[in-house]
């Protein structure tokens, strides 16, 4: 019996139990992570998870059931359970009518992410040596707490729908990071490389090798120590140049989540929140300055949110989210698109076989601008350059944000000056994006492997092509 057979059996059983539509995903995921601290390994974990998740539509209402067993009889029972749950949903129905799906061609195909070096095949001793040597070096150079880690996901999926979809995919993702923490007088200072949680992508171990963690160990330890002696980031309103890693999270929080159609429709109102965006303004609303071009692109090679098809069988497709500062597109699924009267989905994914597919970011990021970081600094008489995320918070409509960064430098007369500690900046999304007056061409597709959403909670993997950019009249230096 193949995994497609199990999925077929589940779909057939759901239809037999009264569903008008059903789909099933068999997923098999292997995960490996290692963490080292101060020169020693503190954790090595290998996880394996496999099962089937079935989604059924009955009377315009949905049900989902997941089970960690791929036996034919178990798969059939899962299909029946999904239909039973959907029938219960139908007792508290949408008074405006049932939810259908926008039309979809029955896709059949195979996709795999590019992987030059299988990360699970790299010897554990080699991976461990990388982390222990880098953390030992950070410790030697002044870090009180030196941590290094990597994460690897190897996921295979088989998707079948009652409309004729039949898709299998193999996605390999990995990434790693090092972090130095120094304990100061009533404070901690932190420096990380290549980003706060690490750089991640749909690539093999070559991604981690290219990052060359060991080569940056001494520098970030010295910077963390130096931050304890640095002056505070001043409070006030100023010009800010934000590095690409931090701007990636800014995109994630204030653009990516805001354009999720399920939030716009109120489906996340009680937990993650809604959105300040109103569908009646799609195509005309000014989201930011004319330099702001943001695309939704799950075809981006090697980025963490890339795939061949999403988890309801829609083929990956590049689409504008914001073009020349105007809001153009949303992250949607076939169900939310049907409710909103749109004609595209393609952004629905699930965190494993036991979780319902829902609207998630794929790769949401900037197209390159015309400047360089050096040009931006040279063009700034008085301002602050800050980078590398340390804290993040945004309101439930995705408007009012506050971010903290690990490090900042003052800019005076076109040159970088003193190092500053505890930099923060705060603002309102569209006002902030409207103030972007310079944007670098140096795009990096940063990966975010910890995007939380949904109830039960799901962790999503998203990508954010980003580059340094300059913003004017930004409030900085908020402290408690």
């Amino acid at each position: 019996m193949t995994h497609f057979d199990a999925a077929d059996a589940a779909v057939e059983a759901a239809l037999g139990a009264g569903a008008t539509y059903a789909d099933a995903r068999v997923m098999h995921r292997r995960y490996e992570s290692m963490s080292a601290r101060n020169g020693d390994v503190e954790d090595l974990t290998q996880r394996e998870s496999a099962g089937i998740g079935v989604r059924a539509l009955v009377g315009g209402s949905w049900g989902f059931f997941g089970v960690p067993d791929l036996d034919d009889a178990v798969a059939r029972r899962a299909g029946v359970r999904a239909a039973e749950i959907a029938a219960a949903s139908a007792t508290v129905p949408n008074r405006r009518g049932g939810q259908g799906l926008i039309p979809s061609e029955p896709e059949v195909g195979t996709w795999a992410s590019e992987c030059l070096i299988d990360p699970l095949a790299v010897p554990l001793s080699e991976k461990g040596d990388l982390l222990t040597s880098a953390t030992a070096e950070m410790r030697k150079q002044g870090a009180d707490i030196a941590v290094g880690s990597y994460d690897i996901w190897d996921t295979r999926k088989w998707f079948v729908s009652s409309e004729g979809h039949r898709i299998d995919q193999h996605v390999r993702e990995c990434g790693g990071a090092i972090t130095s923490t120094v304990i100061g007088d009533g404070e901690t200072q932190v420096r990380s490389y290549p980003s706060r949680r690490g750089q991640f992508g749909t690539r093999g171990w070559e991604l981690v090798e290219e990052a060359d963690l060991g080569a940056h160990a001494a520098r970030i330890a010295e910077e963390a120590r130096a931050l304890t002696r640095a002056p505070q980031c001043p409070a006030g309103e100023t010009t800010v140049i934000i590095g690409g890693e931090q701007l990636a999270l800014q995109i994630h929080e204030s653009v990516g989540h805001a354009i999720e159609l399920d939030r716009i429709l109120g489906w996340e109102a009680a937990y993650a929140g809604t959105s300040w965006l109103d569908l009646s303004q799609l195509g005309s609303l000014k989201f930011g300055s004319e330099l702001m071009n943001i695309v939704i692109d799950p075809t981006y090679p090697g980025a963490l949110g890339s795939f061949g098809w999403d988890d309801e069988g829609t083929r990956a497709h590049k689409r504008d989210a914001v073009r020349n500062g105007i809001w153009k597109g949303v992250l949607a699924g076939r169900e939310s698109a049907a409710v909103a009267g749109l004609d595209y989905g393609g952004s629905v994914r699930a965190d494993g076989w036991a979780r319902l597919p829902m609207v998630r970011m794929t790769n949401v990021g900037l197209e390159p601008g015309p400047h360089t970081l050096e040009e931006m600094i040279a063009a700034t008489d008085d301002g602050i350059y800050m980078d590398m995320n340390r804290s993040w918070s945004i309101d439930d409509r995705r408007l009012n944000f506050q971010f903290g960064c690990q490090i900042a430098y003052e800019i005076k007369n076109g040159k970088l000056g003193r190092m500053l500690k505890n930099p923060t900046y705060t603002g309102i999304g569209p006002r902030f994006w409207a103030s972007m007056d310079m944007l670098s061409s140096d795009i990096v597709a940063w990966g975010t492997p910890n995007c939380g959403k949904g109830q039960p909670g799901q962790t999503g993997h998203t990508g954010h092509p980003s580059a340094p950019a300059r913003f004017t009249n930004v409030r900085v230096g908020v402290r408690g």
Binding site: S89, Q402, Q455
Partner: protein
């Protein structure tokens, strides 16, 4: 329901692993079976309705100074055999682990709570019925949220002779009501018994809050005296647990804790107690260590933190049962933290925005301040002070001369949570502690309302 099947599975995997790794290896096995069902609603209808039943086996092997751990949801004989062989091989190939703390020997644990069979047997129709009660109670407002049920059976066995098992049940409601003008109100409750959660009462309460928050105005940010309702206080004590009472962060000097020192107001007593009548928890952790009531702060004096075996060995103390799947990396969080309420009469329902009479008694003592229902998206700027930023949500009101005078738009705060409870800063504690559910796991925080001298609001709704 019984946890015997989980214990037998743990014993079977332990035997396989010992046969493969050899008699000198330290081996431990944890088995968890979770049946989760969550009925989610938005725009006043059920839009997502899910269930799954998952058994996961976790295995650790420490052999010849090296450690590896693994887990799998595949529990067939072949799959378990493969997991054991992979883990043995990983332990041989991994770098040395000089901090291995060893295994716990045979140690008794407290009995589990009584299982609520009504939770175990709850059907999709039962959950839909409770959702309907909530939606009907909010009347012409829009309802969104979830009702969930969960059964959790767990077993632990190791090569040092420890073998324990237990089970627990939890039901939870987390929901809002929203007016056409987009003001909203919230209701949350977790319990070990499904009958404790009256969805109609919660729906009426959330709707009253939403209506009372309509027409909110923006006020100047700054330091305000506050009354935090239990939904907001749950966030405060949760974050204190994560960043302050986390044994790993204590060892690393990233926590504010100084044991034996009066760091909080004398009225504050904080405990973690997954085995109390308030919370759904198991009487042991993923290392088989027994859990009991843990006093974190007594009358303002810092007493203890949460440790697993590794962090406890580093600190020179005994583990108190806070190992979790990723605690070696992220540290230990008190999963059932409780701020003790003040002595007082049982609260009654009241009209208007306050969630009950206990909250209203605190409001009556405030000259000028804010009543805050809930916190949202709180994140840590620096663990050393538990310095957090976040926003108010689901209803905030201005208080003048002991009266709630007008609704206020959401505000951003940047505030040290540990300092907010410092000596002299706690002006009143409510008499009614409510268990607030978390989104992940079976954890919850149980908290009464608090009246605090100052809360640092650093931004208004417009920035």
């Amino acid at each position: 329901m019984s946890d015997q099947a989980e214990l037998e599975l743990a014993a079977r995997v332990l035997e396989l692993a010992r046969a493969s790794a050899g008699p000198s290896a330290d081996v431990d096995v944890s088995v968890n079976r979770v049946a989760l069902a969550l009925t989610r609603f938005a725009n006043s209808y059920i839009h997502q309705n899910v269930a799954d039943t998952t058994t996961e086996v976790q295995l650790r092997i420490h052999s010849e100074g090296r450690t590896a751990s693994a887990s799998s949801t595949l529990v067939g004989a072949d799959a378990l055999g493969e997991m054991v062989e992979r883990t043995v091989a990983a332990a041989k190939a991994s770098p040395a682990d000089p901090g291995w703390p060893g295994l716990i020997g045979t140690t008794p644990v407290l009995p589990s709570h009584d299982i609520d069979e009504a939770i175990v047997d709850a059907s999709p129709a039962d959950r839909a019925s409770r959702v309907r009660d909530y939606i009907e109670a909010v009347g012409d407002l829009t309802a969104a949220g979830y009702f969930r049920t969960r059964y959790w059976a767990s077993a632990y066995a190791n090569s040092a002779g420890q073998a324990v098992s237990g089970a627990c049940t939890e039901a939870a409601l987390d929901a809002i009501a929203k007016t056409a003008a987009l003001s909203d109100g919230v209701a949350r409750q977790a319990s070990r018994r499904i009958a404790d959660i009256d969805c109609a009462v919660h729906g009426a309460r959330a709707a009253a809050k939403a209506r009372a928050w309509d027409g909110a105005v923006e006020i100047e940010p700054g330091a305000y005296e506050v009354v935090l309702e239990p939904t907001a206080v749950a966030d405060v004590v949760y974050c204190l647990g994560n960043f302050g009472f986390n044994g790993k962060l204590v060892n690393e000097h990233q926590s504010f804790l100084e044991f034996g020192t009066r760091q909080m107001d004398g009225s504050i007593t904080l405990v973690d107690d997954g085995v109390s009548a308030f919370a759904a928890g198991l009487p042991f952790d993923t290392e088989g260590t027994p859990r009991r009531r843990l006093a974190l702060v007594e009358n303002g004096v810092s007493r203890d933190a949460a440790y697993d075996r590794r962090s406890a060995a580093e600190a020179g103390v005994a583990s108190n049962g806070y190992a979790e799947a990723e605690s070696a990396v992220f540290g230990m969080s008190p999963g059932n933290i409780r701020l003790e309420p003040s002595a007082g009469s049982a609260p009654t329902e009241v009209d208007g925005p306050a969630s009950n009479s206990s909250v209203l008694e605190l409001v009556a003592q405030v000259g000028r301040g804010l009543l805050v229902t809930d916190h949202f998206y709180t994140r840590c700027l620096d663990p050393r002070r538990v310095l957090m930023t976040g926003l108010t949500r689901n209803g905030t009101w201005l208080i003048e001369n002991g009266e709630i005078v007008r609704p206020v738009k959401n505000m951003r705060f940047t505030q040290s949570y540990s300092e907010s409870l410092g000596p002299g800063n706690v002006l009143g504690i409510g008499s009614d502690a409510i268990a607030i559910p978390y989104n992940y796991g079976t954890n919850s925080a149980t908290a009464p309302a608090l009246r605090l001298a100052a809360w640092n609001f650093t931004g208004g709704a417009s920035g």
